[in-house]
């Protein structure tokens, strides 16, 4: 039996639920050396800012057990180059682009959303409310539901109405569910969970912080259980809100875990650094797992971990 792999996110249909996560897919060109980017659900761009940005000094990364610490500082060419060079290239290859945006305040976010949604071919906007390592500090909107709501509201108001706006949140915020609710009340069409987790490593040789920024973001399989819990909690509180789950997805089984916790699509981030074709491998593995379980469509398993043990799920999945 083949499973229908299409998934819907706030009215947008994607051919499958596996996405390349923000900041982990380059411009798309680099990954296209390893697989056809049209095959995956979508490519989320590195968070686009208004101006070019040099990011943080090196060293920017350190390896940690089953994870990676990074402090890139949102280096990027700015929205102009993105629109002129990167977006057209992605579209020319049949890629579906989700534009991630980051700004210094609600005004910048809104301006980015306006320009990006005016461009042909952007499928969705993802509002990065949670990057823990901007070079200049100050992106900690996500600590405050009111501030996050203000940004989301501004973005939604300036985004073409047929383009869904997803707010991307970190897990290590004072109250994730309250924050999620605030974003939804500010008319976010969905939520992306989670960004990397504030963390740090000390180089045991120099006894100095291992990345130049001191604190960085922890990502990779190490944080998967935190991502699963975050998706589970938010889905329990806001079952109608579509979620993109991410954090440490390495295999199809990991993707399935996030779907069962309540995500309708899954982002693959850090693992792409170690396995450049991870996205398509994970898609294939997920498809196999769903077929083994006799799922007719992806949505059969979305939120499965919330259903009471036994009955309905077991029935659907033929176990």
């Amino acid at each position: 039996m083949t499973t229908d792999m299409r998934t819907r996110l706030a009215g947008r249909e994607l051919p499958n639920p596996v996405m390349a996560a923000a900041g982990c897919a380059g411009t798309g060109r680099e990954l296209a050396q390893f697989f056809d980017i049209a095959r995956i659900g979508a490519v989320v761009t590195k968070s686009v800012m208004l101006e070019p940005r040099a990011g943080r000094p090196a060293p920017r990364v350190a390896e940690t057990p089953s994870g990676m610490l990074s402090a890139i500082g949102l280096q990027g060419p700015g929205v102009e180059v993105f629109l002129q060079r990167d977006l057209p290239w992605l579209l020319s290859r049949g890629g579906r682009a989700v534009a991630s945006v980051a700004g210094a305040g609600a005004g910048e976010y809104a301006e980015l959303a306006r320009r990006l949604s005016a461009a042909e071919g952007v499928e969705m906007i993802e509002v990065n409310l949670s990057c823990p390592n901007p070079a200049g500090g100050g992106l900690d909107f996500a600590d405050d539901p009111a501030e996050a709501a203000r940004v989301v509201h501004a973005v939604r108001s300036h985004t073409r109405s047929d383009i869904p706006v997803f707010a991307k949140l970190a897990a290590d915020v004072p109250d994730l569910v309250a924050l999620a609710r605030a974003c939804v009340e500010a008319r976010a069409d969905g939520l992306s969970l989670i960004n990397s987790v504030r963390a740090m490593a000390v180089d045991p040789r120099t006894l100095r912080p291992a990345v130049a920024g001191g604190v960085g973001g922890l990502s990779g399989p190490a944080i998967r259980p935190i991502a699963v819990a975050s998706v589970y909690r938010v889905h329990a509180a806001l079952p109608e809100v579509p979620l993109i789950g991410m954090g440490g997805v390495r295999t199809g089984a990991d993707a399935l875990e996030l779907l069962a916790a309540g995500a309708s699509a899954v982002g693959v981030g850090t693992v792409t650094f170690s396995d450049p074709s991870a996205c398509v491998r994970i898609l294939r593995e997920l498809e196999e797992l769903l077929e083994e379980r006799g799922a007719d469509r992806v949505s059969d398993v979305v939120g499965a971990a919330h259903r009471p043990a036994g009955a309905p799920l077991g029935a659907v999945l033929g176990r």
Partner: protein
């Protein structure tokens, strides 16, 4: 997907050899061998499928042979858990290898005199380069340095390929006591070098670039920066490089390098974001074209 881009392979190990303080691993990887040009590197997944070590380890490609459809050799020193795991590989084990990665050394069109300077295991990419230069009729001279005799890299093959070979060791246990850069100027004079190629630690590259500048000779350096992906997607490996347009950009050592023109690398500012770099805090855009961080770094003609 593309014909000269990198590929990801599961490559059987052909041999694991101890060479002085180093290990040399040869894997069967026809597609990498076929695409390879000197200066490029590969990256290896370490620790197996359930490894806690998430990141690939990058290594310069030291040799490529046509056997078994195409083999690739890299050399390494055991430095941490990743290289320790690699040192334990045996024949027929499979390695997950991605390569060839990065931009190769540009080769001179004319048969000029080439000085190759390498420090420690950093010397690895100079050997395929030396062969390529010789095939073009260039004269090749080596200055190779290391901490001690057992860390001097492939001394014998250097002697075989090169017109002259100068060795330096920090402890004087082999060749001249001192650093590569101490012996370089003299060697360049003797060899009447027209161009310098250098690989090794950043401080050595800085000095080599300074020496070459003093002598008015072009220099190509291959840098080693911490790399998370090696394929250009993570932006972890950036160093400040001046473009043709005079603008400094934070460029990726893995795909925009590892080979750069020495005079373009702002060695003194490695590990910082220079205030005048494109997109540095306070920086102001001067126009759309210069705002493209890729533009202006693609020139890599040598000699």
């Amino acid at each position: 997907m593309s014909d000269n881009g990198p590929v990801q392979t599961r490559s059987p190990v052909l041999t694991v050899r101890r060479v002085d303080a180093y290990y040399a691993i040869t894997v069967v990887a026809p597609q990498i061998a076929e695409r390879f040009r000197s200066g490029q590197f590969l990256s290896v997944a370490v620790g197996g499928e359930q490894s806690s070590m998430l990141l690939r380890r990058p290594f310069a490609i030291h040799d490529v042979k046509p056997d078994y459809g195409g083999t690739v050799e890299f050399l390494f020193a055991v430095r941490g858990p990743g290289t320790a795991w690699l040192a334990e590989r045996r024949q027929r084990d499979l390695l997950d290898v991605v390569g060839p990665l990065g931009r190769p050394f540009p080769l001179p069109r004319d048969p000029v005199n080439c000085m190759l300077a390498g420090g420690g295991s950093g010397a690895a990419p100079l050997f395929p380069l030396a062969h390529a230069l010789r095939r073009r009729g260039c004269r090749v001279d080596f200055v190779l340095g290391a901490a001690s005799a057992d860390r001097v890299f492939s001394a014998i093959s250097a002697r075989r390929i090169a017109e002259t070979t100068t060795f330096t060791t920090d402890d004087g246990s082999f060749g001249v006591r001192g650093r590569v850069t101490d012996a370089l100027e003299r060697a360049m004079d003797d060899a009447r070098s027209d161009v310098v190629y250098a690989c090794g630690p950043m401080p050595m590259l800085r000095t080599v670039a300074a020496v070459a500048a003093r002598q008015g000779v072009p220099v190509q350096v291959a840098v080693e920066e911490t790399m998370a992906c090696g394929t250009g997607i993570c932006m972890s490996c950036v160093i400040p490089v001046v473009g043709e347009d005079g603008i400094t950009r934070m460029v990726r050592a893995c795909v925009d390098g590892p080979v750069f023109r020495g005079e373009r690398v702002r060695f003194d500012d490695v590990g910082t974001i220079p205030f005048d770099a494109l997109g540095a805090p306070g920086w102001k855009a001067r126009g759309e074209d210069s705002a493209d961080p890729q533009s202006g770094v693609a020139d890599r003609e040598a000699g």
